[in-house]
Symmetry: C2
Subunit: 566 residues, 2 copies
């Protein structure tokens, strides 16, 4: 494989001592499961511990988390876990991590609130959760970590200013530079510039939107769209969004006040997250505006805003149940307006499209990203990424958070500014970069990868199990049982054949008797020596039937012959 | 289900006689498998016969075609099949249809060329293929059909002006109104306006882009982007696009001439379609510019343009093989520029993303829709749809080609113009609308639906087979064989358990012995009467094991108990 010379490590000697190790365990090579190690001699801190949602190839997998065996091996060094914000791709691996190691956690108050609720659900107590406010600094071993406010699609997000023995680091977390954030808490540009003035060794910056030119629109844009729609519509309004997007919820609340409507909630995570945010003061809801869902039918349509989950087309979500008439309280009717206030996560487009069709069929007006400005991204676009680089003016630049293509676009952006080519470091999960004041070198990789969580099983779904799932999921399975007389080695009964996911019963009937004949013929022609070699017989049966079925039908079901002694 | 009153049928009496029946058999309710019936007393014509590519829910399905049993029942009435253009979603069902019925086919020369190649592949001879040019008129029974040039992402596309006993119909096919088409063959606005002047009963118009505001960009935009990239790059250029997009290929050829490069081809369909188009004169390639792929390594990098398939991330495509180093002639290297000149079909985003990552990792520059103007749509956006409606000024309007949400957006566009609400007819597959000069009525539906093609099997993959595939594809399968002594009814041997797609062997070991104990216990506690009821026993085994496994692992594999007499 040709590595572009542009971004490869210079042939320096190992730096080992007096060097900072930077080790991404997740999030560099995929969108999600962010997890970054900073290590200096005997001190190690972890930034973020996220999960990733499975793609359509990962059949039956519930969630994916990073392989953190490196952390288990170095548990004694870990001084703390610092979390930048409360999204699942930054906190979702915590329950798995914390059931194996037990360092204290540091994050802003809302992030702590969300983590705390998550740990309670999993019965993980005794974890030290330390709230830290922006512009506060904590000390973890040799590291001093300053929290720096950034705007994002969840409130209370921060970047980290990490002072290490070899120099200052800025780790942005997820961010955008929203000049008019809903809560007025702007990205702390001044503080970031201060790091630039003081001299910063490395910037690790969010690459999610590195392919998008221009600036990301302000969250306020969505508020204005809400105002317009809420005031003009004479029917009920149903807003589906991510429950963690507290800004979005706040704007729906504000527009509800403006349009004299009440707020109703549907969806477990929506109710929980709003409760946490309201308790911590991040969400301001006038007391009389939040009404119990059970009473929704007592209100006229033009006084109703229903906030719900399901904006990704999830088949068990509240919105999906409404769309197919199986929701307990809500039946979609003509005059309803449904807002899908979110972006389709790649892979969910068809599911979302189906929901939209169902809603239109029931007479609702449906408003979604493609046709209206009811969603903006939470991530910085190219011009904002340039602002970040120019504020911090780092010696070294490492793009983080993204697939390879996003990382490489971000690297090119840095190259277009004042960052030297040889100071741009392209890393992927498991890479180890040792950084000294003036040099860097790539070391041998540490164990890393994706751990699949399926039900209660963590990491026990092997690749071959997934391959089998894919195979039988595509073409079905045929099980064929052959009884053989223990004493004589002769066939004791006709082969028994069953299949699943292959063909219908009528069709199976004819085919299976043909297969039967084939197998009996095959077995009768075997010489006695082969007959005792069951594995050989199984292989021959598999091959013969497989060929026959492919010729007949151009399908390749999995074939499992079982030879039973009788 | 609440139907919006806006678009439902007025309560008229059945029109039956002296009415035109319009019956969509596909394409109204999905994107793809377009197929429309026009019927008047004993004459029936079919417009288009397309396929649809399966979505990720349709496990193992190769393609989807419309249920055309209505055509088989009315075979004697069919006077001909008229095809608007040569895309798969308009011609792909022809081989299936033509192996059951045998009417003549009418289309423009390139479309005939593409159909002819397709039928030859399937050994379908004896089909009458009649080339028709734009502005020519054919007569099929009571129908007179005029071919009207439209622009689209394939050359030689037409709309149809159909004169019927009840009035004129315009059926647009797929179209955009490109003012600067590559071949100079503009949408025949004058002819469409003529139909408007003469008075047209109904317009059936393409809804694919009804959600997109503004105008669709001209194909010429892509040519300018090609010129720029081809001339500036010093390395090889690899262009992946749909092989049927002959305009796109022509522009690549033109830019190759401009930049002093040669054209190399990779991918079976790319070679075949270019050959057909060149033979028929739709593609103009200077004789010396097309060079055999085998000699590619004899040319310097800056003289190479490679046209290839695989723009949708298809795992067997030429581009994919290049991206993972398994292509025979081409190995991606630093300096290469790869253009993905196409839009991601929904559902393919992740596969395309993976290819892009692989290409970047090998050092290529990758240019794709998100970051450059190297693709434009072939379908009319909202302003063009308005132009079409205003040209034709039909009495009745029927949106075609699209999911429900696209149809309803198109209906709203018509409503915003001069079309009366009650003259906008929202149809879905299988609906029958009877149209007279001044009225319309919806009749009882005809059989319609999606037929799954899996290998050689057409329509034999039942819903329950797909459900089974999904189930075992998600959580795997467990087969458990219990031998029972024929004479005594007692268990003859320990249960044999095998599983696929469930857990790894190590994990299975412990679990399976637990399941064994469970089953033996269950069987030993049965009273003798139940023991002879095998179906009952199978049900009990299934339930007991299912519950146990879910409790242990939170997974739900399919469990198949088999009781064997011994």
């Amino acid at each position: 494989m040709n590595q572009p010379t542009l971004f490869t490590a210079p042939p320096l000697q190992s730096l080992h001592h007096q060097a900072l190790s930077i080790i991404p365990l997740g999030g560099l090579g995929e969108v999600g499961m962010n997890m970054m190690v900073y290590e200096y001699e005997n001190d190690l801190i972890l930034v973020d511990a996220g999960l990733m949602f499975p793609d359509q190839e990962m059949l039956g997998i519930d969630i994916v988390i990073p392989d953190f065996s490196y952390l288990k091996e170095n548990a004694s060094k870990i001084k703390g876990i610092v979390i930048t914000h409360g999204h699942e791709d930054h906190i979702g691996a915590l329950p798995f991590l914390l059931s194996e190691i037990n360092p204290p956690i540091y994050a802003t108050p809302l992030t702590i609130g969300l983590i705390s609720a998550k740990l309670k659900e999993k019965n993980l107590n005794n974890i030290l959760l330390n709230p830290v406010k922006p512009r506060e600094t904590i000390t973890l071993g040799v590291f001093k970590i300053e929290f720096i406010r950034v705007t994002h699609s969840i409130v209370d997000g921060v970047a980290l200013g990490i002072t290490t023995p070899v120099g200052r680091i800025i780790h942005t977390g997820d961010f955008k530079i929203d000049q008019t954030p809903v809560d007025g808490e702007r990205t702390d540009i001044q503080k970031l510039g201060e790091y630039g003035d003081l001299g910063t060794l490395a910037l690790l910056s969010d690459s999610t939107n590195a392919e998008r030119p221009g600036y990301t629109l302000s969250e306020k844009v969505v508020g204005r769209a809400f105002d317009e729609i809420f005031c003009q519509s004479k029917g009920r309004i149903i807003v589906a969004t991510f429950s963690s997007n507290i800004h979005r919820v706040q704007q729906a609340v504000d527009s509800a006040v403006l349009s004299n409507r009440k707020i109703f909630l549907s969806g477990k995570s929506m109710i929980r997250n709003i409760q946490i945010a309201a308790e911590l003061g991040y969400l301001k809801i006038p007391t009389d505006i939040l009404v119990k869902l059970e009473t929704i039918n007592d209100y006229p349509d033009d006084q109703i805003i229903l906030l719900t989950t399901g904006s990704q087309g999830e088949p068990l979500s509240s919105l999906f149940r409404m769309a197919i008439d199986t929701h307990k309280q809500i039946k979609i009717k003509e005059g309803d307006t449904v807002l899908l206030s979110s972006r389709a996560i790649p892979g969910n487009e068809r599911a979302i499209g189906r929901i939209i069709n169902h809603l239109f069929r029931r007479g609702a007006e449906v408003v979604y990203e493609r046709i209206s400005e009811i969603h903006v991204s939470g991530h910085a676009s190219q011009e904002e990424l340039k602002v970040m680089i120019n504020l911090v003016r780092p010696r070294f630049f490492i793009p983080i958070h993204g697939e390879y293509r996003q990382l490489i676009h971000h690297a090119k952006i840095a190259e277009s500014l004042e960052i030297k080519k040889e100071h741009i470091i392209l890393m992927e999960d498991g890479d180890v970069v040792e950084l000294a004041a003036n040099r860097w070198v790539k070391e041998k990789k540490v164990p890393s990868g994706r751990i699949f969580v399926d039900g209660k099983g963590v990491g026990n779904v092997a690749d071959f199990v997934l391959r089998d799932r894919k195979h039988i999921g595509q073409d079905g399975i045929i099980v064929l049982i052959i009884g053989i007389d223990k004493s004589t080695g002769e066939i004791a009964s006709e082969p028994e054949i069953i299949s699943k996911g292959f063909v219908s019963e009528e069709e199976a009937y004819g085919l299976f008797s043909e297969l039967n004949v084939l197998v009996l013929k095959l077995l009768s022609e075997l010489n006695p020596e082969v007959k005792s070699e069951w594995i050989v017989i199984e292989g021959m049966v598999k091959k013969t039937l497989g060929k026959y079925i492919y010729k007949q039908m151009e399908r390749r079901p999995m074939i499992i012959p079982i030879i039973l002694e009788m």
